[in-house]
Subunit: 135 residues, 2 copies
């Protein structure tokens, strides 16, 4: 059978709320909340504010990651939502951020990552591996 | 004029060195070195090892980010190299990792992020903004 390890959504958010895009605390909360909305398990996160403006942030999840880079001067945010496993829905994170950033329009690309032909076994996702390790 | 804020390479590395894929210390060194090879300025990084195997990590750079997720059980690594500005070459990071992971074959997609029509001004990249702020 042919299967994929992950689903990666590349989201372009345009005409967003500029105050939100330039507020590292709000961006951090929104990206972490988006991960939880998707059903992901947060492992760690890091956020940075750039001078004179703009925020970059990352949330590592057990199922891969979410990232965001904002350009308040253009009302634009580039977001990546990369998840694996059947228990996480990256589109829920996308919808949550669409509202949180109050964006007027957007575009998305969904890419399957790690498309592998696996014979005689089911693809193992990291969450399963973690669960089996915890047993 | 129409311009883009960033260049994002989505790289699929197959048939990599399994020992490297499962070694968080080596993956961290390779991803940080790849960022420097591209000419990027490293801001922060974080790496995690999953049980029973697999490494996830990211490097936030002033010019956006690099990320990696490895599945040693499949000899596969999913890498993202997202850069902005004219001073950084993401393909140098891609080539560096291709050798570091000793991958037998790979596939890539390059996407332009933040394609904006800017009238009467040049697009400002974060590195420029940082430089102007430092003056």
């Amino acid at each position: 059978m042919t299967n994929a390890l992950g689903t990666h959504i590349l989201a372009e958010y345009y005409d967003c709320d500029v105050e939100v895009l330039n507020n590292a605390r709000k961006i951090e909360k929104h990206l972490n909340d988006a991960a939880l909305e998707a059903g992901a398990t947060i492992v760690s996160s890091a956020f940075h504010t750039f001078n004179p403006h703009g925020v970059s942030g990352f949330v590592v999840i057990a199922e891969s990651h979410l990232s965001i880079h904002t350009w308040p001067e253009y009302g634009y945010a580039a977001v990546d939502i990369f998840t694996c496993g059947d228990t996480v829905d990256p589109w829920k994170a996308f919808d949550f951020l669409k509202e949180s950033l109050d964006c007027a329009h957007y575009s998305t690309i969904e890419m399957k990552r790690g498309q592998l032909k696996v014979v005689g076994q089911e693809l193992k996702y990291k969450p399963d591996a973690i669960a089996s390790a915890a047993r």
